[in-house]
Amino acid sequence: MTELWHRFFALHRARVGLVLVALLGGLAILAPVLASYDPSVQLDLANRQLLPPSIAHPFGTDFFSRDMVARVLHGARISLSVALLSVALSVTVGAALGLISGALGGVLDTILMRLVDAALAVPRVFLLLLVLALWHDVGLVGLIMVIGLTSWFDVARIVRAEVMSLKAREFIVATRALGFGMPRVAFRHLLPNVAAPIIVTATLGIGQIVLLEAGLSYLGIGVQPPTPSWGTMIADGQALLTRAWWIATFPGIAIVLTVIGFSLVGDGLRDAIDPQTR
């Protein structure tokens, strides 16, 4: 395990990614402290509407004279929380279903795998459109659940593949013959093999979900106002693009940096685990 950390830290890109992620995480957690203003307060509709970036307002103000720095910082909290919680949910569900499916096999496995194939055939956004159309007004928690429950397929496949390969290996038959029960087998043999790829998938997944949530919020079906989300800010900024470019630009940059950070960390982990590919 420590050797893995060493290999990880040796990679320059991984260090950069880690710094980015830590920075963003820190900013998100400390948002209320760091922001000079409250993100939802309309400061001064008469005078402080749509101000370009300045010392007082480094990211400018929006149509409702809200400070953009505060909004972007608080948006970080929302986007990161949604992403982290969704990924946690998807990993849990995926691992559980993959384990069951792989271990029990048979009809259950076939049905589940066909379901996964079908769900993967529908493009992500359309799938979410479908679910969110049917369950509207879900709130933040609901959104996390919806995203989490539609993102578990990769993890499930990984776990299932590992379980099936384990089932086939002779030493498992031997341990079963010796009377070891399934849970012990699962822990000592399944977990180590499966942990690494799951962590990589999860890390990269966080970045993907930040993008997904931003897209949904942009379309108006993700995070709902007044909760600040980078996606909704960009949507707000679209109508005012020529007059006030900063409203759409800074949240976008924030997204790019966040996804870069998680991608670098995820790639770094993948290279640390499997050093062959450079």
Partner: protein, 327 residues
């Protein structure tokens, strides 16, 4: 190639049909499980008379037992009947016929940009790993790959559309002048309107493809048959192209299959940025007005497109890699 290949492909096509069938079933189940019914909004709005609603319910067979509804639903789907859109006041199928080609055009244009560009960059990087240009390109692809596609579209729109005025900023064609244009003028107009949205999709797609292709090249170039090719005294160009590249393109063909869902998802967002009248925008608008038929239909249609795309990729792969052909 022969009959065994066609049999294999027929089997794959059959699997595809099963998948579409499962998708249709899934959507049916979801609609049943979801709270409310397709008519809640219409009823609540008060704009539709109760007798009409009751009539529609009977038309949709909503008063029949579930399994009858299900079979009816499937039968309709096979006939291409996706139901009625009460926001569009016409059958969903009509709306699709009008909108889907626009989305396909956008996705195809995105595909045309993303693959050649992505492959070129990936091959270039893969044949000189660790070099300055490789590192620079890696950073570039990472940044683009991490950019939300709708934001990229907005930025491109801001710079090239609204600031530089090089390209139009919305729609598939000029709303005013189009009618008066000649045939050639119309093509040019359409192309001009296609550029920004297609480039948006294409750039992100190219970043994904380039990363994939670079990894494939690195993997192949290390392989022993590349060393054999060099030992034969072949020119470096022949080594790279005929030996390394041909093998490195194989995984890219599988990427071709994965590209469809990505492009279609991206299209939804890009259509919203550029007011492109496609299936994505239709579905998004339908959500806000709870027009279920449109949204479920869209899921099924896009799933079908993805399945077809995968089938195509499968055929291509088998054509190119002799190892996958049955003996």
């Amino acid at each position: 190639m022969g009959t065994s290949l066609t049999r294999l492909l027929a089997a794959r096509a059959a699997q595809g049909v099963v998948i579409v069938f499962v998708v249709a079933t899934l959507t049916f189940v979801l609609v049943q499980v979801a709270p409310g019914n397709p008519f809640t909004v219409a009823a609540e709005s008060g704009r539709v008379a109760p007798e009409v609603i009751e009539q529609q319910r009977r038309n949709f067979g909503l008063d029949r037992p579930i399994h009858e509804q299900y079979l009816r639903y499937l039968a309709n789907l096979i006939r291409g009947d996706f139901g009625y859109s009460f926001t569009q006041h016409r059958p969903v199928r009509e709306a699709f016929v009008e909108r889907v080609p626009n989305t396909l055009l956008l996705a195809a244009a995105g595909l045309v940009i993303m693959f050649p560009l992505g492959v070129l960059i990936g091959v270039f990087q893969g044949s000189r790993p660790g070099s300055r240009s490789d590192d620079t390109l890696s950073v570039a692809t990472l940044v683009v790959y991490s950019t939300p596609v709708f934001w990229l579209g907005l930025m491109l729109l801001l710079v090239f559309g609204q600031t530089l005025h090089w390209f139009p900023i919305a729609g598939p064609r000029d709303p005013v002048v189009y009618q008066q244009l000649t045939w050639l003028g119309r093509v040019v107009d359409r192309l001009r309107h296609l550029v920004l949205p297609a480039v948006t999709l294409g750039l992100v797609g190219a970043a994904v493809t380039a990363r994939y292709q670079r990894a494939a090249m690195l993997d192949v170039i290390r392989r022993e048959f590349v060393r054999t090719a060099r030992a034969k005294g072949l020119e470096e160009r022949a080594v790279i192209v005929r030996h390394a590249l041909r093998n490195a393109l194989l995984p890219t063909i599988t990427l071709f299959g994965l590209a469809f869902p990505l492009l279609l998802s991206g299209a939804v967002l890009v259509e919203s940025v550029f007011a492109w009248p496609g299936l994505g925008r239709l579905a998004v608008n339908a959500i806000h007005s709870r027009d279920y038929a449109v949204v479920t239909g869209a899921a099924i249609v896009t799933a079908t497109m993805v399945v077809l795309g995968n089938l195509l990729a499968d055929v291509l792969y088998r054509l190119v890699d002799p190892r996958t052909r049955p003996a």
